[in-house]
């Protein structure tokens, strides 16, 4: 015999049909504010500074000087680009967490062209070849798991994860192979004397010219991705496959083709990031070049609900926190990982607040029912 419940439960969770856009944004902003308050309190406990000056210090770290501001925007651009790269795959429910590896492979290909053809061909052709190599390398690296997924339904979260470490070790292999000088374990600045293959500084002699190219590329790709996802036939196919593979098959979309094409695009943009890092920003190749941003980008893309425009703000928030917390940590001779803790807290709050957007909690009405 089943026991009959005497009381209606106190809480009851119901899925919302829809929520006004304004209200959803308000909930998210409330969550971010709550997280920032908690971050301030934690920083206060650790450093003894009052919360308002904590954010003052963070502001100085991110925007204190013209150079710092440019670097902040360059970092935002890189994170934004990787997030954009992952987005079409995510929209298709293909969990590409291999951004890290795809960026590394793009960088590796660019560095290889730069080193081997450096002074043998004219610079514009060299840069074109580097771009092509980076796009192909990143694309191919992402297509390998996509082929497994399309053919045998291999879990892509896990296979892209493994591809990251294989890429890291490949880069480590070539780092030792090409090390300059021998025995240093580092490649050093590539083509330091000739600057062959270095991506151009844009806008002549002003402080931001070093950083401008990355920012322009990010802006262009953001706009292109927004249009691609929202208005193109490909974007529509991606959305259908993401919603239901069976529906997609039924309406005649070749699901395997869409998966492979989209994931190649995803990897190709990561490859471009590798190119920008090697050819434009670092002028060298290291295993830690991507710096975990392949993983951070997963969260940025998801937090922005796969919307390229919102992704700009999400990346800015994450980069601001990490550079700001870096400044706090330096001032108080604390460990730089402080920023990861703050980023984690912000993420937990935003992840948690999604619940209140999708569901509503109704309380029991009118006391106990007999």
């Amino acid at each position: 015999m089943m026991k009959t419940r005497k009381h209606e439960p106190l809480l009851h969770i119901v899925k919302r049909d829809s929520m006004s856009y304004k209200k959803a944004v308000l909930i998210r902003i409330a969550a971010i504010v709550a997280a920032l308050v908690l971050c301030a309190i934690i920083t206060m406990v650790v450093t003894g500074q009052n919360p308002i000056s904590v954010y003052g210090t963070m502001g100085v770290g991110a925007f204190g000087t013209a150079r710092k501001t440019w670097v902040t925007f360059q970092n935002v651009s890189i994170l934004l680009l990787i997030s954009l790269a992952l987005t079409p795959a995510f929209k298709m429910r293909f969990w590409n967490i291999g951004g890290e590896g795809q960026v590394l492979m793009g960088g590796l290909a660019a560095a290889a062209v730069m080193l081997k053809l450096g002074d043998k061909i004219p610079n514009p052709i060299l840069i074109a070849l580097m771009t092509l190599a980076a796009i192909l390398a990143g694309g191919i690296w992402s297509v390998i798991p996509a082929l497994f997924k399309a053919k045998w339904n291999t879990n892509e979260t896990l296979s892209t994860l493994m591809m990251n470490y294989i890429a890291t070790q490949l880069v480590a292999f070539f780092t030792v192979l090409w090390e300059m000088p021998k025995g240093s374990g580092k490649i050093g600045i590539i083509n330091q004397n000739t600057n062959a293959g270095w991506l151009p500084n844009i806008g002549g002699e002003f402080i931001g010219s070093k950083y401008l190219l990355t920012i322009i590329v990010a802006t262009l790709i953001t706009a292109a991705m927004f249009i691609y996802l929202a208005f193109s036939k490909h974007g529509y196919e991606i959305a259908v496959v993401g919603e239901s593979v069976n529906t997609a098959r039924y309406v005649g979309i070749k699901v395997e083709k869409v998966i492979i094409r989209t994931v190649f695009l995803s990897g190709a943009i990561c490859g471009i990031v590798g190119l920008l890092l090697v050819g434009g920003i670092n002028h060298t190749l290291t295993t830690t070049m991507a710096g975990g941003q392949g993983f951070t980008a997963v969260m940025v893309s998801w937090l922005a609900k796969f919307n390229p425009i919102i992704m700009i703000f999400a990346s800015l928030l994450i980069v601001f926190l990490s550079r700001g917390a870096g400044e706090v940590a330096t001032n108080f001779s604390l460990n730089q990982s402080f920023s990861d803790i703050l980023t984690g807290i912000i993420l937990f709050f935003i992840i948690g607040c999604e619940f209140f957007i999708r569901y509503k909690i109704t309380f029991r009405r009118g006391g106990h029912k007999k």
Binding site: N155, S159, I166, L177, S337, T343, G344, L347, E354
Partner: protein, 333 residues
């Protein structure tokens, strides 16, 4: 010829953190939760244990008391379990109660956990105002790495089987126990049902939420012990930032390699431990140091191949739990 009596113990000590991590993750995944936060949890487990041991040693040196073996082991262990449990609860609260996306939550936990570990590892001395140059917990770690007193008298047998600290044997016991629970008990059956199809399990009267919380939290606590073993036994109580490296991810890879079976994980983790350090033993010559980097790739390539082969063969008992990674909401069936 590689000396097995030397290599095997080295593979085992590398494998034990992986075994803790993968046993924990197997339990978690069996409940349908794909916890990518395990690397973070292992960092938090390690640093929580270190914090406990650090304050215990500080207390000892202030009061001048003799170290007590029981306290030296239980304080770091309880701190470690508590830290990992809190991480587990956080993950469950977000993914089970609030039904958040598991991949994103897991990655956020890893960012947070690794940051938490490195931050306190690097700043603990500054924050607590202690008068020591670095975190080196020699007193407490001695109790963790103590092996049986007669182990080194037994030659190769002693070094292969008896030369480890107690946490190594605990790891194997936990894995065996987990395998038995999963395979032979009603609790294990219910847990697997929750991971395969929570809606069916729910209608059969199984408390899905409780099983998901229970398996994930216990899984996190087990994984956290892996971090504790690494720092207190393997690293002799010396904390250095990022030293734990990518072992947490390797533990997740191991889950696939063992096709979700903790008993296979015992051997697989030792194999992976061996693969993790095998590059030190393959002679490359000074001319070709770069080849070492390729040998370091082996564990990941092997995992990828196993992953692809299991999906190719498509055998039902080798598949991931069917609802892995999906949130469950009763009213959405």
């Amino acid at each position: 010829m590689i000396n097995l009596a030397l290599l095997i113990p080295k593979a085992v000590v590398q494998g034990i953190p992986l075994l803790y991590g993968s046993t924990g993750e197997i339990l978690t995944e069996k409940s349908g939760n794909l916890n990518l936060g395990i690397p973070g949890v292992m960092y938090v487990g390690a640093i929580s244990g270190v914090i406990g041991a650090f304050f215990y040693e500080q207390g000892l040196s202030k009061s001048g008391a003799q170290p007590n073996g029981f306290l030296a082991i239980t304080i770091p262990m309880l701190c470690c379990l508590l830290g990992s449990l809190l991480m587990g609860l956080l993950y469950c609260f977000l993914t089970v109660t609030l039904r958040a996306n598991q991949n994103v939550t897991g990655l956020a936990m890893t960012t947070f956990g690794v940051g938490f570990g490195n931050f306190f590892g690097g700043s603990l001395i500054k924050i607590s105002g202690a008068d020591v140059p670095s975190i080196a917990l020699s007193i407490t770690s001695k109790y963790f790495s103590a092996s049986l007193p007669f182990a080194d008298k037994l030659g190769w047998f002693g070094s292969i089987f008896l030369s480890y600290g107690f946490l190594a044997y605990l790891a194997i016991l936990i894995a065996v126990f987990a395998a038995i629970v999963l395979k032979k008990t009603r609790t294990g059956l219910h847990l697997r049902a929750v991971g395969e199809n929570p809606a069916t399990a729910d209608s059969a009267g199984i408390n899905v939420t409780m099983f998901k919380y229970g398996a994930t939290c216990i899984g996190c606590m087990i994984a956290g012990l892996g971090g504790l073993y690494y720092v207190m036994d393997y690293a002799c109580g010396v904390w250095s930032n990022d030293a734990f490296g990518d072992r947490g991810w390797l533990a997740i890879a191991l889950v696939i390699f063992t096709i979700w079976k903790p008993d296979i994980a015992i051997f697989a983790s030792i194999l992976f431990g061996g693969l993790y350090i095998v590059y030190l033993y393959i002679p490359t010559g000074m001319e070709h140091m770069e080849l070492q980097q390729l040998y370091k790739m082996i564990p990941y390539v092997v995992t990828l191949i196993v992953l692809v082969i299991t999906s190719m063969r498509n055998k039902r008992e080798d598949q991931p739990p069917a609802s892995l990674g999906l949130p469950y909401f009763r009213e959405e069936r």
